[in-house]
């Protein structure tokens, strides 16, 4: 198992490297640049900006310089200029014997063209934790609604409970969050004023957005749980368990449910990665300062370092989440081996 995990992590770096090359090439191939705007800037100003952000170099050169800022640790001496362009995620001050204020600096995802005072690292520091909280909360809600709903529907299949449960699931799948979010907001925040309309920080500000996000995903989980559990309930070993005289609750929870979770866990990986890196619509509607909008605005604004940073982050979390899923498989079904 350990060898498997290590191999997968090494693969992950290769995948990220390949992805970074593809994305970097594609985004520079798309017409338009970061400083095109309604009022065209004077040529001179554009030149100055291109110079400042190293946009005049060839694309391979720009790529190498970008990657080396992220990957290669450097040692600096003396006081560094306080600039968003010199913002490193890892800074380790060295003892005085190595030189004047010697510091190891590592991982710089670059500036954002849209804000002079912030860097991509700042966006990760400020906005990612918020999206992560919201996403994790939403996944928890999705599971808390989806799994019981699926179990009830499976156990009481073709009864009114099943139809109601699956009705809710169909609603969740088919009504997009761009509808549910403002409706929830209007009912609970504007009309009844039981929760704030927007914002982030207080627990009561998290309820509506997390519910709106989680509800849509819970529908998917409920349907998968139901289908999978139905299949498992007809397996021989379930019949054996019942024949041994185990209580029905124990049969379902200990024997059937665990084994029926494989399809659910499979979708959970990508779902988790998508939710914790931010969701544009929900964050916009609820005024949440998360990461979601940067996936969209960076592309429309051709903000190259932000495009790269957000996509690499998303890919990184997606691969890690899928790795977790694979490890979960082995626990859920001991027959699965990765050697």
């Amino acid at each position: 198992m350990a060898a498997f995990v290590i191999r997968r992590i090494l693969w992950m770096f290769l995948v990220l490297l390949a992805l970074s090359i593809i994305v970097f090439t594609l985004m520079h191939a798309v017409p338009g640049g970061p400083f095109d705007q309604e009022k065209p800037l004077p040529e001179k100003t554009k030149e100055i900006l291109a110079e400042k952000y190293n946009l005049n170099a060839s694309v391979p050169e720009q790529y190498l310089s970008y990657m080396s800022d992220i990957l290669v640790p450097r040692i600096t001496y003396g006081k560094q200029p306080p600039s968003a362009a010199f913002d490193y995620l890892v800074t380790i001050p060295l003892p005085a014997m190595f030189g004047d204020q010697a510091t190891i600096r590592w991982v710089n995802f670059g500036p954002t063209y849209k804000s002079r005072s912030r860097s991509v690292n700042d966006i990760f520091r400020d906005n990612l934790p918020i999206s992560f909280q919201l996403g994790a909360f939403a996944v928890a809600i999705a599971l808390a609604i989806g799994i019981p709903l699926g179990i009830i529907s499976a156990l009481k299949r073709n009864t009114v409970y099943d139809y109601m449960g699956m009705g809710v699931a169909v609603l969740g799948v088919s009504v997009p969050v761009i509808i549910t979010a403002p409706v929830l907001q209007y009912i609970f925040a504007v009309q009844f004023k039981v929760v704030p309309v927007s914002g982030w920080g207080a627990p009561n500000q998290m309820i509506l957005p997390a519910f709106a996000l989680g509800f849509a995903s819970s529908a998917l989980i409920a349907r998968l749980t139901r289908a999978s559990l139905l299949q498992v309930l007809f397996e021989d070993y379930i019949r054996t368990a019942r024949a041994k005289g185990l209580a029905e609750r124990r049969v379902v929870i200990m024997h059937a449910l665990k084994n029926s979770m494989i399809p659910v866990v499979t979708v959970l990986g990508p779902l988790f990665a998508a939710l914790v890196t931010g969701t544009f619509v929900v964050e916009t509607i609820f005024g949440i300062p998360g990461l979601g909008k940067f996936f969209v605005t960076s592309v429309t604004g051709r903000d190259y370092p932000v495009i790269m940073g957000t996509l690499l982050l998303y890919a990184f979390i997606l691969i890690l989440a899928n790795l977790m899923v694979d490890v979960m498989y082995a626990w859920l079904d001991p027959r699965i081996r990765f050697d």
């Binding site: 017409p31 338009g32 640049g33 400083f35 095109d36 705007q37 309604e38 009022k39 065209p40 800037l41 004077p42 040529e43 001179k44 100003t45 100055i48 900006l49 400042k52 200029p81 306080p82 600039s83 968003a84 362009a85 849209k114 804000s115 002079r116 005072s117 912030r118 700042d122 400020d126 906005n127 403002p182 907001q185 209007y186 925040a189 504007v190 004023k193 704030p196 309309v197 927007s198 914002g199 982030w200 916009t284 509607i285 609820f286 005024g287 300062p289 998360g290 909008k293 605005t297 429309t300 604004g301 051709r302």
Partner: protein, 560 residues
Amino acid sequence: MNKGKYLGLVMVLAMTLTLIVGVSAQEMKVIHTGVGMVGGDPESIDPNLNEASQGNNIIRTMYIGLTTQDEETGDVVPGLATDWSQSEDGLTWTFNMIHDIPWAKYNADTDTVEQVMDEAGNPRYVTANDVVYSWKRVLDPATASTYAYVPAEFVVNGTAVMAGEASVDDLAVKAVDDYTFEITAPEAVGFATNIYGLWMVNPVPQWAIEECGDSWTEADCMPSYGPFVLKDWSHDESITVVKNPFWPGTDYVPQAQADEVVFHFLDPQTQFAEYQADTLDAINPPIEELDRIKSDAVLSQELSIGTNPCTYYIGINAEKPVVGESVHLRRALSYAVDRQSIVDNVTKGGQIPAQWFSRPGLNAAPTLETNPDLGAKFDVAKAQEELTLALDELGVASAADIPTITLAYNDSSGHAAIMQAIQQMWSTELGITVQLDPRDPSTYFSSLSEDAPQLYRSGWCQDYPDADNFLRGVFRSDSQQNDPNFVNADFDALVDEARLATDTEERRALYAQAEEILSVDQVGMIPIYWYTAVQMTKPYIERTYSVVNREAYENWNITQ
């Protein structure tokens, strides 16, 4: 005896009551606003770097120029300068600044605004040196300020410094003494006082910028001197400014009445929901909701439609086939657009049908009162008359034989509906079929600069509030913004003359003549509408409404 006892009790009660009332009267007055804030996190609140009206609204609370604009009339009034004088030749301006205005900063530990002291422990004051530093910093190519080209034209060597051909020390700016600032312009332009008050040349603190670098605009570093001081910047969420007790208040920019102003960066629909939940005090309502707001007895009372110094128009590339070949065709197209119907049925924000380019309300621009008949108006009879002449000019038998004309637009924020309405009008009134060409918004404007199509949707907002910025800035034959390749010697001569003229009415008359050439004689563009600022404000807010697209929050108060 008993009486005395009761008297004591009553006195204690009365005192307690006074205390309670006293405390509640001291309650913090915090204004929550979303006006002009729908664009997300501001790109910058550094005066030298900001280029958007959003940042401008925030900067205006903390920084005041040498001159400033009266927000209700648009007039240039004293800001940080008490008075100024112009040299004989009209080139050199001398500004006398208010003495002893301290730099102030918010201290999060004590929750108070404090004066900033220098190394020696003396208060730092806003001086002419800060103004000089600001000019040098904004024009320095290393700063890469995107708006530097506006002030660059109004100081000797400005454009050369921007181009890297001269050093910032060659700029003709000088601190004669701590409170006297002198600047020399390459041309004697009367409205230069307006430029010298713009946000990008507001005094900025060299010591803070050198200490904190790019992040000097964060709350832990940014000092200011105006009616408010930065307290908090929660990125992508809000900016809070707090009253600066050290701003002395002037006749034109008084001390702030509210204790704090919080700017919230929200989507229009979310803003509106917050407003309805009574958590935002002033907003720009979403256009989709305007019908409902206008028909609602309460909400309609809180709605205000003011001016916004922008013009929406259709540009015509004079070098393109068909539209470039026939001035009569261009006139026919312009006369056939029913602007009133567009603002009533499509945009619905109370916009004003435009007859010419420069937005009325700008300094020296013609207005509907001074020049009611100027420019292009919807007139079917005239349109058809011009169409007949156009057919001769183009050598075709009927409108259906006119070769295809393309109308391009950036496919965002409701432009499609307006373009379709205009396409429909041309088809109905003239029988001309125009093809629509929706384009990717992110590359639309650069595509215009490279090669503008026959017809294209565009807009222009003021850089500085003078008709010069519109007419000379966009349509002079050598202007960099002249995408439509509009070339007319008379027009150029008129805008040049108006630029240097000093009497406002004389300038207005010259601009009116230029507008007549641009929108009627030559039809270099088709004006559609003049923008409005649609706002909603809670009844308990006492405020002024700005006509210059930057609110003066020091004049806002909560009355309840």
